[in-house]
Structures are given as structure tokens and as C-alpha cells.
């Protein structure tokens, strides 16, 4: 077994008495592409929200590289090496593709550093390299607001690549994409997953099959099953609550 990069233990969050995530244990190994599936309201997005600091857990621990993320603020968690992609594309619409990528460059993120930031050769090369990877190298000076839905999703993935996190959290990266875009995104995701750990929430079973190393099924805030895709797919409990219909 490879070493763990993320260990979520006994994690619970309760919203006015409703436990969206309930005593969950969840582990991610280094360089693993781990997919989380489950019916609506299973607590998938809430789990990612807690890992990246958006939601504070009621109890439990989230350990990442010896740090306890549940005690840290969002920007500190990001700086520690956790990247998050939200369900709806969240890009900075009034900035260009280049500027969106530049802002995600993971250095000099303090006030003075930003004020005197110099777009050096290395930064430009990195922007160009990533723009080519996300199929936006001909849109560099376009405002993000003018991109299509799929392009915005790519841009956000590109921003995460720029951040170069060790753990990447992706919430439905192919939602709302055309078949063609979906295929390209699959290729992109496999490329991204090289050399880092990725947690993906996805509903598209074909897509999950094509990328996942390991699958965790959540149901009502608890873990229902975990294992390789073919194991999970044949688990009667999973078929009953999720895959059966």
C-alpha cells in the first residue's frame, strides 16, 4: 500500500441537527485518483467542502501531510497544497484567461508580493504551457466571461494546475459538457493526476470507469462501499441505493 496523503477520521458535520456527513472515515493514497459517488444528498460535496475549509466540521479530524485542516482557514489550506474545483465553474469573469492563470500562480500571494509581482519568463512559459494543456492557448487575452461553459470548466482546471496542488478536489468536472468536451476532459484529468492525488465527485459512470483507481460510495453521510470500480458496481447495496435505477 502506498503512503496516505489524506486521512479523514470520524468526520461529522451537522446542519441544524441534520448530519450531512456522519462519522466518516476516508483515506486517499499518494498519486491515487479516488472517485466519490452516491445519490443526491449523500454528503459528497460537503465532504470536499470540509477538506478545503469551506465548511467547518462539527467533529472529527482531517489530516493532510501532518497538518490538521479542520483548524485552518481556506487560504492556508490552499497554500498547504490542496486545490478545489467547484461544481459550477468559478473563474474570475472580468479577468482574461492569462490573468486568471497568473493569479493562480502559487507564489507571492501576499500584498507586497502582488504589488511588485513581475511576470517573468518562467511565469509566462508556465501560463502558455498550461493554456495549451487546457485547449485555451488561442484565447489567452479573452475575458473569462466570454468563454463557453466547457471552456470555463477547463480554465478552472488550468487554474488548479497552475496552483500545482498535491491534493486536488474536483466536483463534477464534466457536468454540462458535450460528449467531445467530456472525452478531452478525461484525457486532461488523467494527465493532471500524474504525480498528485485527486478526489473526484462524478455521476457519469462511463467517465468514472475510465479514470478511477478507487471508488467510494457515500449514502446519507456514511460510507456504503469502497473498492475498485468493478467490485463496487457488483455490490448489492450499491446497486440498490444508487446504480439500480
Amino acid at each position: 500500500m502506498r503512503p496516505m496523503i489524506l486521512a479523514v477520521e470520524d468526520l461529522t458535520v451537522s446542519f441544524d441537527g441534520f448530519k450531512a456527513v456522519d462519522g466518516l472515515n476516508f483515506y486517499v493514497e499518494e498519486n491515487e485518483l479516488h472517485v466519490v459517488i452516491g445519490p443526491n444528498g449523500a454528503g459528497k460535496t460537503t465532504l470536499l467542502d470540509m477538506i478545503c475549509g469551506k465548511t467547518k466540521p462539527t467533529s472529527g479530524r482531517i489530516e493532510f501531510k501532518g497538518l490538521y485542516l479542520e483548524k485552518m482557514l481556506e487560504y492556508q489550506i490552499t497554500r498547504a497544497g490542496v486545490g478545489r474545483k467547484f461544481q459550477n465553474p468559478m473563474v474570475y469573469e472580468d479577468l482574461t484567461v492569462t490573468e486568471n492563470l497568473e493569479i493562480s500562480y502559487p507564489k507571492k500571494r501576499d500584498v507586497i508580493g502582488c504589488l511588485f509581482f513581475n511576470r517573468s519568463e518562467a511565469v509566462r512559459d508556465e501560463i502558455n504551457r498550461i493554456a495549451a494543456m487546457i485547449f485555451l492557448d488561442d484565447q489567452l487575452e479573452r475575458k473569462a466571461a466570454l468563454l463557453s461553459h466547457g471552456q470555463k470548466q477547463w480554465l478552472e482546471i488550468g487554474m488548479l494546475l497552475m496552483q500545482d496542488p498535491e491534493l486536488l478536489l474536483l466536483d463534477e468536472p464534466v457536468a454540462g459538457m458535450s460528449a467531445k468536451e467530456r472525452e478531452l476532459t478525461g484525457v486532461l484529468l488523467r494527465k493532471i493526476a500524474e504525480g498528485r492525488s485527486v478526489v473526484v465527485i462524478e455521476h457519469d459512470m462511463e467517465f468514472v470507469k475510465s479514470v478511477a483507481h478507487k471508488v467510494t460510495v457515500l449514502h446519507q453521510g456514511k460510507k456504503l462501499a469502497e473498492g475498485r470500480m468493478d467490485e463496487v458496481q457488483n455490490d448489492p447495496r450499491v446497486i440498490e441505493v444508487y446504480l439500480g435505477h
Partner: protein
């Protein structure tokens, strides 16, 4: 050029500026806009107006510092401060304290009332305060007063802003906090007559560092100093907006919830830009007092604070240069209307506050941008090269 092409930071302009010539044109116009402003302020206006009008202009221009600061905080940072008068007032009062102590030290009567200590300003003795308060005393020295004008309001703004933004008090709630503070400030000044001069303010300030501020030459010099400082503020603002910090501000304005996940602490950035705006406002306040010869609670309460927002809105809240024009135009309209139709001014400013955001969300600068984009599109069509 070493940098990658950057599109103009002026909101509306950059949409059309996707072609290389487009952004170059936009950049050039941006560059010239400061030059045009400098020529107008430094050459055209002094040549065309007499000493009285020039003094009036200088008065408007000291408010323009606040409008320029508001472009940064409100237009780009998304922080609508309804309390810039606080910082304008702080600058104004600190300058007045220095000038008042200087006036008192030249006043034989004040020396008598001060007893063995430093001379006491006249309004204090009228209020039976016969010893200079400890927090007044250091303002006797120029080396203390001038840095204090720059540092104290900036520091207060940063601490106030950071404390609020850290607790995620933002948007309209922060506007209300600033509004309340502006109100408190004028109440405190009016209430503490013995220390602040009360509703009359601090008056009778004839000299600054030994020089008379009332002669025509002094008016001219102070006008130029104001212009140069204002142009410096505009250029500093441009530098901030062109830097990566400017992009972070836009990102915070549009998606504060997202920027945290890019690894930025928005509270720090918002605190910073709020402090910069406070610094500009304080400089404006100090120049105001220097030129009009008084400090008064009427320039640091709610009404002037809201007027400053309107100056920025009319000029265009995304345009640093526009803010200066907005201030001068609205300021001149205010003088004209309140001289000719007493009491009508408040209705006019209320109407502006409604109509400008509704019909001219980007103010005068937005109109100019629109004209330029139209011209560009027409030109592109003539060349047969539609984008």
C-alpha cells in the same frame, strides 16, 4: 516590451480590446488620459482663471483625493465606503491642529493663558481649558504633524478594515459600519467643543511653517502642490491596478468566496486598499485645510462622505482620472446650485445618486469608453476586418 499584452484595466474598454491594436490603443488612451489631466490642471486652468476661482478649484481637487481612493476601494475592491469623510476629516483636523498651535505660539494672549506650559489655542480658553491636552501637544511640531497626517488615518483604516473583513463583514454591512463611524466622528467633534472647536471647527489659521497661506502667491503654490499630489495619487492608483494586486482586487470584488481557494487572504487585500484610500483622503483633507484655512465637522460627517461616493460614481467608478473630473463637475454644480437655488442642492445630489448608477453605471468614463468602442468597431468595418 517585456510583459505579455495586458488588456486595459478600465472595465468596459477591455471587452473590445482583444486585438493587439485594440489593447495598444486602449493603453495609449489610458496613458494620455493622465497626461491630458496633468496639462489641464497644471497649465490650462491656472492660465484661464483668477486667484478666486483657482482657490475654488483647489478646494474641489482636495475632495478628488477621496474620489480617487473610492475608485480603488469601491470600483475595484468592491468595498463601498460611506465614510471617507472620516479620513478626510482626520487629515484636515491634524493639519488644523498644527496650524492652530503655530498661530497660538505667535499670539501673545495664548501664551499668557497657557501659564507655564505651551500656548493654548483661543477656542480652548473660551471653553475654560487652560492647559493644552497631551494629544494636542506633539502637533506643535511639523516633523510630527506631517507624518501623523499620513500614518494615523492609514493605520486606523487598516485596523478597522482588517478587523471587519477578517470576520467577513462586507458588502452593505461594511457600508453601514462606515456610515455610522462618519456620523460618530461628527458627533464627537461637535460634542467636544473644548478640544475640537465644536461645530465652528478650528478656524483662524493664517500660516504654515512660518509662511502666510493667504496671499495670492500662496494660493497659486498650494494649487500646484495639490495638483501634483493628486496626480501622484492617480499614478499610484494606476500602478496598483496594473499590478497583480489589481487583478486580485477584481477577483475579490467579483468572487471573494473563490479567491480564498487561490490561496489569498482577502481580508488583508481589502484592508490594504481601504488603507490606501484612507491615505489619499487624509492628504486631501490636509490640503483642504491648508487652502481654506479651517477644519470643520461639516467636511467629515455623513453628507460629505456620500458626496464623495457620488463624485466617484459620476466620473466613473472604474476610472481614476474620471473620478477627478467627476469631483470637479459635481463640485462646481454644487457651488452653482447652492448659490442660485438655495436648498435645491440636496434634491439634485439625491437624483444623481439614483440616476447615475441606473443609467450610467460606469459614469462619464463609461460614456467615453462606449464612444471609443463604437469608433473602433466602425474603423474595423471600414478595413473589412471584423473581429
Amino acid at each position: 516590451m517585456k510583459d505579455l499584452p495586458l488588456t486595459s484595466t478600465r472595465g468596459g474598454a477591455s471587452n473590445a480590446a482583444t486585438s493587439p491594436t485594440g489593447w495598444r490603443g486602449a493603453l495609449l488612451l489610458d496613458k494620455y488620459s493622465v497626461l491630458i489631466l496633468a496639462l489641464l490642471l497644471l497649465i490650462a486652468i491656472p492660465a484661464l482663471t483668477g486667484a478666486f476661482r483657482l482657490g475654488l478649484f483647489a478646494k474641489y481637487l482636495s475632495f478628488a483625493f477621496c474620489a480617487v481612493g473610492l475608485v480603488l476601494t469601491w470600483g475595484y475592491g468592491g468595498i463601498l465606503s460611506l465614510g471617507q469623510g472620516i479620513f478626510f476629516g482626520l487629515g484636515s483636523y491634524m493639519m488644523a491642529m498644527y496650524m492652530k498651535l503655530e498661530a497660538s505660539s505667535n499670539d501673545p494672549a495664548a501664551a499668557v493663558f497657557g501659564g507655564s506650559g505651551p500656548p493654548v489655542p483661543d477656542f480652548m480658553t473660551w471653553n475654560s481649558i487652560d492647559k493644552l491636552p497631551w494629544w494636542w501637544a506633539p502637533f506643535e511640531h511639523g516633523w510630527f504633524a506631517l507624518p501623523a497626517i499620513l500614518i494615523i488615518p492609514t493605520l486606523i483604516a487598516f485596523v478597522l478594515g482588517y478587523a471587519n473583513f477578517r470576520k467577513r463583514v462586507g458588502g452593505v454591512y461594511f457600508s453601514i459600519v462606515t456610515l455610522a463611524l462618519a456620523s460618530i466622528m461628527s458627533i464627537v467633534i461637535i460634542g467636544q467643543q473644548g478640544y475640537t472647536g465644536g461645530v465652528n471647527g478650528i478656524t483662524n489659521l493664517p500660516t504654515f511653517m512660518g509662511y502666510s497661506v493667504q496671499s495670492n502667491t500662496a494660493t497659486l503654490i498650494m494649487y500646484y502642490v495639490t495638483c501634483v499630489l493628486l496626480l501622484c495619487a492617480v499614478l499610484a492608483g494606476r500602478f496598483i491596478l496594473k499590478s497583480r494586486l489589481g487583478k486580485v482586487l477584481i477577483a475579490i470584488r467579483d468572487r471573494e468566496d473563490r479567491i480564498r481557494f487561490s490561496g489569498y487572504d482577502p481580508a488583508l487585500f481589502k484592508g490594504f486598499i481601504f488603507a490606501v484610500a484612507a491615505l489619499f483622503s487624509a492628504v486631501g483633507g490636509a490640503m483642504f485645510t491648508l487652502q481654506v484655512g479651517f477644519a470643520s465637522p461639516s467636511v467629515c460627517g455623513i453628507v460629505p462622505s456620500i458626496e464623495m461616493v457620488i463624485y466617484a460614481a459620476v466620473g466613473g467608478r472604474l476610472s481614476l482620472v474620471g473620478a477627478v473630473y467627476g469631483t470637479v463637475i459635481v463640485g462646481a454644480a454644487k457651488s452653482f446650485l447652492s448659490e442660485n437655488f438655495v436648498g435645491f442642492w440636496v434634491y439634485f445630489i439625491g437624483a444623481l445618486f439614483i440616476f447615475v448608477p441606473m443609467f450610467l453605471p460606469k459614469g462619464l468614463a463609461g460614456v467615453i469608453d462606449w464612444l471609443r468602442i463604437r469608433g473602433q468597431v466602425r474603423q474595423d468595418k471600414n478595413h473589412g476586418g471584423a473581429q
